[in-house]
Amino acid sequence: MDKKFHNHIIICGLGATAAQIIEELESYLEKTVEKDTIIGEVRFRDYLVIEISSEAIEKMSAKRPNIDYLVGDATDDEVLEKACIRDAYGIFPVLSSEKDNLYITMAARQLNPRIRIVARTADVFNIGKKLFKGGANSVVSPNFIGGLRLISEIARPHATDFLDEMLLDKNTRLKIAEIVVPTNSALCGHSLKEACLPEKYGLLIIAMKKHGDSHYMYNPSYTVRIEHADTIVVLGYRDHIAEFRKQTVTV
């Protein structure tokens, strides 16, 4: 492969998951006119697929002719080097074998400490833990999120609608935000009740994390005192959250 890649995404294996990821990425790329696509906080330009079977590549090429391929075994470090893994932004190890994906995760982390690795596994408890240990930034389990989603849709359809509207709908102004209380904030030393979030800003306090704690307190009592570096999780309109954020900085 002659083309040089930079800040790209590598997809290892061209199975059903990869095909779906490609559709997602393409839908972002189609929307952009500029040279670079910006998704979320990331500037990304292109992606390439490492696949060993020319049959799978041909099948995909019939549908999407302009994908960059690297024919080879993704569990081979040399192949990863050829895919410019040292300059890559991220990698999806989505081969059919869980062991191969674990191997790629470890190899990718070794070759590029900054790379973002998003892996998948059917077995969250065993393989999932190993993937994290091997250097994955995030591990997704189709069974887990699929099962949870089915129950959410069947057992609490309205709550699910509400969350979807908030998380996915680009037009919605509702948001969940985590606000870290700055040092010297006027809020410090006051109770949640005195901070009057619902009354003054229309914000609901759904959780709070005291500085140094690793766990959230959900539905915290209104008598809890706010101190600096505490995290307050609020739900509310975007502009109200911004207003409150501004307020927290005032001395």
């Binding site: 998951t17 997602e24 189709p142 099962g147 309205h158 709550a159 509400f162 985590e178 959230y216 999780v233």
Partner: protein, 352 residues
Amino acid sequence: MNILIRKRITKALLLILLVFTIGTIGFHFLLDGLTFIDSLYLTVVTLATVGYGDFSPHTNMPSGGNPYIIKFFAIFIILFGMSALLYGIGVMTEYIVSGEILRERRRKRIQTLISALGGHYIICGGGETSVYMMQELEKTARPFVVIEKSEERIQELLEQFENLLYIRGDATHDEVIQQAGLEQSVGVIAALSDEKDNLFIVMSLNQKKKDSGSQFRIGAKVTHLEKMAPKLRSAGADYVISPEYISSRRMVSEMFRPSVTTFLDRMLKDDRAVMRFEEVTIAPGSALSEKTLKDIRIPEKTGLVIVAVRKGGAGAFIYNPGAEQKIEEGDVLVTMGAMHKINALRKLSQGK
């Protein structure tokens, strides 16, 4: 195998072996002209109550032998041997039958529990995705019944879910799904590994729903989204999910927007407390109906905050509803908090 039964089978086999040994040795030394093989043969023929008569204490009585000793020995062998054999047969029969009886008793107990259910969920197929569904249902205190074909898989599930309510059978058979309390259920999920089976289940469920006027929602798991999802939807599925599809989307989101779902994700995975965004629907005659939020005093009664109200269960959400918001029957309240508090609110929302 039950350890008690195994012990008894061993005991029976030892007793039988012992009686044959004593018989063989005894006849060999007490009678005349019998080899060990002949003696064993005589023992077997005696205990089998066959008695060919080619050898017997009478024909092979040694000259000068004491006939009483030989007769008492024969009586002992017959009585002791018969008892040992009968005992052995009994133990084996018990072993074969008891598994069946236990299974039958368990099935009856579960059937009684299921028939007492109402407002429960039915999961067709006990595969890997179903395990996570069952975990979520258990965590959020929702009763459920799983239908699974393989006894082996049921045993695996029982290891994870001690009080699992299950039906062993093929969910595509009407009477099997009926046994799961279909008419009283509130949701059924078709999650078999075979896509056509799921389609078949959804179609027959939809028919039943129309016939009986039941209100359960129908969900389906799908693998080949493009091919199967439209069919499942037109067959009557309220919701179709492809774990592959949503996990791929999720992977892309995790790649580019790691911070978006963090809080909710951590909340879902928190093992110390079960916190959820949930909903309750105001039933006719509920204590909460026809009042304003100020009058209902939900935060004081349950410790929960109402995040949003959806009037009549449709249309836009009224976010952070004010104290003057009127609540009527059919309204849906969206709330967030600990499951036991939400269940307390759900009780209030039900009719009297």
